[in-house]
């Protein structure tokens, strides 16, 4: 009984459990509206489409949990797609070198964000907002306004294709596999010393620094990871949807909504990367539900706006409640098997 209650508390408490409960609830409604959704092809298509946002959410998680924001990811995704099209220009042989270059570029943008934020003490909000403008302008300056060139077939493989003819499932999209691999990597990273110092930095910067933590270094690294995640997301989106000037627009806000929906606290120090990625899946599921209900896609931003306010207001309320709630009885630590 008490286990049931604690499970219920975990689901309603705004933590990792909540977002997955929400995801299941949305899926249940989707299933009710359109039972066909859970057949392999459409489910795989859903995951393929959701993969870029999930990957972006993992990258953004690192930055947010360390106490910052990265508003430049949308512009970076757009920039990467445009860079890929212009540099590859349809030549298959250039695919891999260009992808390497894109990863370097993504890391460099993250590094710049991180160094400006930590060394120059500019709030990350301003740093990454400035970066957003710089990327937006620089890319259009470089291409003369509209994207030029085209992507190679092999470049588009990752976002469009998958392992074909799998029994039961049909196609397993590369995007899904990449998402799972990077997701597992992100989870693993948070278990390393780096991950522990990162989350401690977001919780209490001073205490971490006085424990010898390299606060500025881990924060900068988080920005680099965010830049890299935007690069991968760019590769997948470019492959999936092709090149346009609008790619990535507004994505920074969508991804922050996703992370916040996952119960990750703005300001840092709380929340898990799994829940952040779960938030992205939930948001995508919600958008799918909208399609199923034939609601206009143009309403998406409104829903997103309402969700993000509700999620944060709910979390703020939960925090106020739990800080008043008396804790259950404690016993000596030795009594717990470790």
């Amino acid at each position: 009984m008490s286990r049931l209650r604690s499970a219920a508390a975990a689901l309603a408490g705004g933590g990792t459990g909540t977002v997955f409960a929400l995801l299941i609830a949305i899926f249940a409604v989707v299933a009710a509206v359109n039972p066909g959704f859970f057949e392999a092809p459409s489910l795989m298509a859903f995951l393929k489409q959701a993969a870029p946002l999930v990957i972006l959410a993992a990258g953004q998680y690192f930055v947010i949990v360390s106490g910052n924001f990265d508003l430049s990811v949308g512009a970076l995704v757009g920039a990467q797609v445009v860079i890929a099209a212009r540099l590859i220009d349809g030549e298959e042989s250039r695919t891999l070198p260009v992808i390497g270059l894109m990863l370097l570029f993504g890391a460099a943008v993250g590094l710049a964000n991180g160094l400006i934020t930590t060394a120059l003490k500019v709030q990350s909000f301003i740093t990454t907002l400035g970066m957003l403008l710089v990327l937006y302008g620089a890319i259009r300056l470089w291409t003369g306004g509209a994207p030029t060139g085209s992507l190679s077939e092999s470049f588009r493989e990752a976002g469009r294709m998958g392992i074909e003819n799998v029994p039961l499932l049909g196609q397993i999209p590369w995007a899904l596999l990449i998402m799972l691999a990077l997701g597992a990597g992100a989870v693993q990273l948070m278990r390393t010393r780096f991950g522990r110092v990162l989350i401690a930095t977001g919780d209490n910067e001073l205490a971490t620094a006085r424990s010898g933590g390299r606060v500025d270094t881990v924060r900068t690294t988080a920005f680099v990871l965010s830049g890299l995640s935007a690069t991968v997301a760019g590769i997948l989106i470019g492959g999936f949807a092709g090149v346009s000037a609008q790619v990535g627009e507004g994505m920074e806000f969508t991804v922050i909504t996703a992370v916040v929906l996952g119960g990750v606290v703005l300001g840092g120090g709380q929340g898990s990367v799994v829940a952040a990625m779960g938030g992205a899946l939930t948001l995508e599921a919600l958008f799918t539900l909208f399609n199923q209900l034939a609601l206009p896609a143009s309403l998406r931003p409104s829903v997103q706006g309402a969700i993000i306010i509700a999620a944060v207001a709910y979390a703020a309320r939960q925090r106020r409640l739990t800080s008043r709630k008396p804790q259950r009885e404690a016993r000596p630590l030795t009594a717990t098997p470790s």
């Binding site: 010393r193 401690a200 209490n204 006085r210 390299r214 120090g269 404690a330 000596p332």
Partner: protein, 495 residues
């Protein structure tokens, strides 16, 4: 009711988290008197003042102000009732002018608009009334010296028509010349019939300024006497007094004082000067001194937070440059900070994550064996928690402190600095920590112990260095009396 009083407090009780801080305290302040509230650190002076200021609410007891019974739940209520408080942390906005700060929330208006001319004029009048002629009403508070900021605070208090002004250690941050300014101001208040409740450690000031002195000890009222009727020596005796002796564990039998592990020669920076200090293996050296004397500054210098800019430091005979915590940790120094919530713990992380934080943050300190030792360290400290995954914010103060100690012991340090290790924790946990400190020494660590409660330093230290105004005023051997320590700490040479 034989004599008129501005303030009468009767039977004030206050506990924090089960720790009794004030026990049935009485206080009477008469109009126009400067009333000193004295006592050792932790005697309950600040708590009493905060109750008066409406910051804390008393658990029991009555407060009568100007003949009316009052009860405050918010600082504003105290202000409106005529109690103005000048805290150590200023309640001023640095970006606003003196006049704007003084009249914040009560700006004079003319036809609905802020009347800046009147505001400036009234500020100027107020300041000249207080005998302050070198403070411009239009000056930005952030650009002022600490003394002038304090004057602005006091002027703000006066502008509210206070009958009683409380000052908490007003000279703690002042240079000598600035102290004179404050003296003049207090005199002015007295002339105007305003009562001043003056919390201070400094005997000289107390005898220079005050009419009456109330002594608190361990949360209880010791006595309330006229300043003219008591000598400084007797006052110290009252402050130190007889006490229920806290039991301190004896040094463990196998504790040897070995080689010098920490040696500071001529250490100095902006807050310290000429610090010579050695700590041997197995030795507990206590740092005593009043608030602001430089105790914490020494700890911060040794740990590289505010490094020494002069002099040398050697650890185990090797000279080290302690320019940051990482350097200090690499040299084998650990530090349990004074404010564990701000500097010691990531409160929303688990016991386990906090306990291994130093190992995680320092590659050279990290090893599998050390990580695996953590549970046994925690249980040796008798940590009470629901489990290693419990967030530390839900632990009691004493258990939080055990986590902090554990995270440093995990690094197997050679030198450990303990800055107020028992602040705000209950008696049982305190005793557990005392035993742990003894055990550390027995293991051959050099322990530098800072505690504002004199009894702790005396009860635990093998040697006591007493600080005064950023310098070591004297060293005392184990078994020194509180009176001897206080003599050095208050800037008088002991006889």
């Amino acid at each position: 009711m034989t004599e008129s009083t501005v303030l009468t407090m009767r039977g004030i009780d206050k506990s924090f988290l089960g720790v009794r801080v004030l026990r049935s305290v009485d206080l009477d302040v008469r109009p126009g008197e400067v009333h000193a509230l004295v006592g050792e650190n932790g005697a309950g002076k600040s708590t009493l003042m905060k109750i008066l200021a409406g910051v804390h609410t008393a658990d029991a007891g009555t407060i009568t102000l100007g003949g009316r019974a009052v009860s405050f739940t918010h600082p504003l209520q105290a202000q409106h009732a005529g109690v103005a408080t000048v805290f150590q942390e200023f309640n001023l906005l640095p970006d606003l002018s003196v006049a704007e700060n003084i009249f914040l929330g009560r700006e004079p208006r003319r036809r609905g608009m802020i009347d800046r001319r009147a505001m400036t004029k009234r500020t100027a009048d107020l300041l000249s009334d207080l005998g302050v002629d070198d403070l411009a009403p239009g000056a930005k508070v952030g650009s002022l010296s600490v003394a002038h900021q304090q004057i602005a605070e006091i002027a703000k208090a006066m502008s509210q028509g206070a009958d009683l002004v409380c000052m908490d250690e007003p000279t703690a941050a002042l240079a000598d010349a600035e102290v004179e300014l404050l003296y003049r101001l207090v005199e002015r208040l007295r002339e105007r019939g305003v009562a001043v409740l003056y919390v201070s450690h400094r005997l000289r000031e107390i005898f220079d300024l005050c009419d009456r002195i109330t002594v608190l000890k361990d949360g209880e009222l010791v006595d309330s006497v006229a300043a003219a009727d008591i000598t400084p020596d007797d006052l110290v005796t009252l402050m130190v007094g007889r006490r229920i002796e806290a039991a301190f564990p004896e040094p463990l039998p196998d504790t040897d004082h070995g080689d010098v592990r920490l040696e500071i020669s001529g250490g100095g920076n902006a807050w310290l000067d000429g610090i010579d200090l050695t700590v041997r293996a197995g030795e507990i050296v206590g740092l005593a001194g009043l608030q602001g004397s430089g105790r914490t500054e020494i700890a911060e210098a040794v740990f590289g937070i505010a490094p020494f800019t002069r002099g040398t430091v050697a650890v185990d005979g090797r000279p080290v440059k302690l320019t940051g915590p990482r350097k200090a940790i690499a040299a084998g120094i650990a530090m349990v900070t004074e404010d564990r919530k701000a500097h010691g713990l990531a409160l929303r992380q688990s016991v386990r994550a906090n306990a291994r934080m130093v190992l995680d943050a320092n590659r050279r300190a990290h090893s599998r064996a050390r990580v695996e030792r953590i549970p046994s360290i925690l249980s040796s400290l008798d940590l009470v928690a629901r489990g290693p995954d419990q967030e530390v914010r839900y632990l009691s103060g004493g258990n939080q402190q055990k986590v902090v100690v554990a995270k440093w012991l995990a690094t197997e340090p050679g030198v450990i600095v303990l800055d107020e290790p028992t602040r705000g924790i209950d008696v049982g946990a305190k005793h557990r920590l005392y035993t742990a400190i003894r055990a550390l020494a027995a293991e051959g660590l050099a322990v530098l112990l800072i505690a504002s409660e004199l009894i702790e330093v005396i009860g635990l230290a093998d040697r006591i260095a007493v600080l005064h105004d950023g310098r070591i005023a004297g060293e005392l051997p184990a078994g020194a009396t509180e009176k001897q320590v206080m003599a050095y700490a208050t800037g008088r040479s002991p006889r």
